[in-house]
Amino acid sequence: MNGPDAVETVRLSHRYGERRALREVSLSIRRGEVFALLGPNGGGKSTLFRILSTLLRPSEGEARIFGHDVVREAAAVRRRIGVVFQSPSLDAKLTVLENLRHHGALYGWSGSALRARADELLERFRLTERRGELVERLSGGLARRAELAKGLLPKPEVLLLDEPSSSLDPRARRELSEYLLGLRASDGVTVVLTTHHLEEAERCDRVAVIDGGQVIAVDTPEALKARVGGDVVTIRGAEPRLLGERIRERFGLTPMYVDGTIRLEHARGHELVRTLVDTFADAVTSVTFGRPTLEDAFVRLTGHALDGAREGGGA
């Protein structure tokens, strides 16, 4: 399947007044990928989302959906994208079915085709029995499913989702991820989602790590984790900075300070753990080590935790 990428951005930048929300972001998302834009809130991913969904005109650079420019060919882009916003976009005073029909009509659907398509989606999202209910009476999880059904109704080629799992419990979040992966298989839809949940990003084909308005890395979750050298050792102690400096002096390692812990990367984590406990028995309260997670990769790439504040330090 050649042809243009599903999503392509070239040196895309945006500023709100003085603040630079996005800096020269260049990305290519292939047709059929499930792609995560991972980063902390305020990191720029929502700005990118708004540009891709034709709601925001970028200050500089270009963004294209299947080769169509989001600014100059907004109408062509809008016919190809389905958008699921973070804030509810269903009309609370309409029923689930009325919402779907209204949305379909905006995309030129009508009559029996629209009815059949709406029924199909209600079935798929297990909403058939609730179709006649006003949206304001639905629970959060059901409303979320109805949002997804709405976004998918016009058969988009690219589905854009802004923090789709933000209000979901872990079980519903897993269900959503499985559903999105299934979509690619059944409909060939390209899925682009923003998230600050690591486990959600972990289940995607590729992840772009976005921080401070820039794309820090783009790769598969596996490859991102492989960038961390060896094992990750996490140490807790009463005075992390002091302890970290002592470790640096003694072993020549580079400590990173994340959420009040010290992190070290080491090829042979289990040996380091023993040595540390022997050497700094007085200063260490706990030590853990394990294979790197996507969070470790994120810390490695950005120098801070995903939902924690920047703490400086780092490599």
């Binding site: 969904s53 034709t54 709601l55 925001l56 005109r57 989001v70 600014v71 907004a74 109408a75 809008r78 016919r79 994208i81 958008v83 916003f85 804030s87 509810p88 976009s89 269903l90 009309d91 609370a92 005073k93 309409l94 009325e98 029909r101 209204h102 949305h103 009509a105 905006l106 995309y107 030129g108 009508s110 006003l134 709405k150 016009p154």
Partner: protein, 256 residues
């Protein structure tokens, strides 16, 4: 066209499901009409149309108020749509901003006219006889006036962030337009500057149009008004111009 119909239909369905809106936008003008119309009738001394009671004079103005209120309520729902998130879903759909505004304006117009017609059934209480030509004319006139008022409401709503802001603008802009339209008092006998302002108020011709329609077949009752042709031309021109302004506002409102 399908999109306009869908947007139009949604406005109607939403409205009918909010009972307080249905009652509020109809009951308020009726109460205004009866209380103000009754209360001020003793001090009302019109110039030539000496036979007109204030209750009757103010009746047409109250009809204009019904149209104004429904247009205002409908445009408040646009502000709510924007804040809530529903409008986002509409904005990313492949429909032009003109289509969206037209759907919203026609929805608001339909609501206004529907309630206006209910209010017209009270005309005999004001001493105005119901009739075929009168009803048909009033329907047409109400549509034109309500459409223009809805467009102004939309032009304001598309740049508002909150409903509070909308209320402030409404009191500052929309109600004065109504006060100065001849709905509340006739221009006869007023100081020249005030008369001039009233002549510049586009709604003066809308209220004039409604009076021409309500008094169809009784030219003597509308002798002091601008002619039917002038009222119609100004109202139609205003409806078109306000639609253009509302559409332009929607295009500029921070999104592509």
């Amino acid at each position: 066209m399908r999109a306009v119909a869908a947007l139009w239909r949604r406005e109607i369905v939403r409205f009918l499901r909010q009972r307080s809106r249905v009652i509020g936008s109809l009951a308020q003008p009726v109460v205004f009409w009866l209380l103000l119309g009754g209360g001020l009738s003793a001090s009302f001394r019109p110039g030539a149309a000496a036979s007109t009671s204030y209750l009757e004079y103010f009746y047409t103005g109250s009809l204009a108020l019904v149209l104004l209120f429904t247009a205002i309520f409908a445009t408040i729902s646009v502000v709510e749509d924007r804040r809530g998130g529903f409008l986002q879903g509409v904005l990313v759909a492949p429909v032009s901003r003109t289509t969206i505004v037209l759907g919203q304006a026609l929805g608001a117009t339909t609501l206004g006219v529907g309630q206006g017609l209910l209010f017209v059934l009270l005309a005999p209480l004001a001493g105005i006889a119901l009739g075929g030509a009168m009803l048909a004319g009033t329907l047409a006139a109400s549509m034109l006036v309500a459409f223009g008022l809805s467009n102004i409401g939309l032009a304001i709503a598309w740049r508002m962030e909150s409903t509070q802001g909308f209320h402030a603008i409404m009191n500052l802009v929309l109600l004065p337009i109504w006060f100065l339209s001849g709905a509340f008092f006739p221009p006869a006998g007023l100081p020249a500057p005030l008369r001039a302002v009233m002549a510049l108020d586009p709604l003066t011709y809308g209220v004039g149009l409604l009076r021409h329609a309500l008094y169809a077949g009784h030219p003597a009752r509308t002798a002091e008004l601008p002619s039917l042709a002038v009222c119609l031309a100004v109202s139609a021109g205003f409806a078109a111009a306000s639609l253009a302004v509302a559409t332009a506002t929607a295009r500029r409102s921070g999104v592509l």
